[in-house]
Subunit: 100 residues, 2 copies
DNA sequence: TTAACAGATGCAAATATATGAATATTTAGC
DNA sequence: GCTAAATATTCATATATTTGCATCTGTTAA
């Protein structure tokens, strides 16, 4: 049985873990490249951002695990894309707040 | 002299650090209590959330340091409040995404 | 000035996160 | 089958974050 406080604290944990997934400069950069429904492979992202392949894969795994991204395998490639395009607005909203 | 990439990477760092400030269950709970322009003291928050005074003060310090909150001292009390009320929308947006 | 309250800060221990080298897995083509 | 390409995973190290106790600072009122 789950009481009100547990449910509420679960929701907080879930929101925090999703936000935490996004709250990293590399991962924000990834989101920006995926805005507008774009789909990119691990290699494309790793080359676009100039970071190691394994580091890229780790970051993508975190974003997927926390429900920010989805992925689809097509042959040798795995395409990653935004689960909710709304999420990229969070970053834009933030940048409006940080740039004043 | 600053080149384009440095500026861009600075913006990413700034957005990430603001998001990181928010991305914690206790700090999201604090934001929710401050929605709509409310101002609360450290003691009020510490009692509302049932967490230690010093822990509360640390969390508030992080939120203030990263530009999420402002504070005003009035006598013995320090009132904390949202710098941009827009920021509380981020959490709502997130919760819409996490609850489907 | 002292007492009492409100808040901030220093510190340490526990825990979590980030990164990349090395290795494993998956898939396509031969 | 074998090889190469793309991605994922394991592991270790470095670094950052969280928490709370103890303490310090600032403020009010007697």
């Amino acid at each position: 049985m789950m009481n009100i406080q547990e449910i509420d604290s679960d929701k907080l944990e879930m929101a925090a873990s999703m936000l935490k997934a996004i709250a990293h400069p590399v991962r924000i950069a990834i989101l920006k490249h995926l805005e507008g429904g774009k789909k990119l492979t691990v290699t494309e992202i790793h080359e676009l951002l100039g970071i190691e392949q394994s580091t890229t894969s780790h970051h993508l795994g975190i974003l997927k695990d926390k429900g920010v991204l989805c992925s689809r395998r097509e042959g040798k490639n795995t395409y990653y894309y935004l689960k909710h395009d709304i999420l990229s607005q969070i970053v834009d909203c933030l940048q409006r707040c940080t740039c004043e």
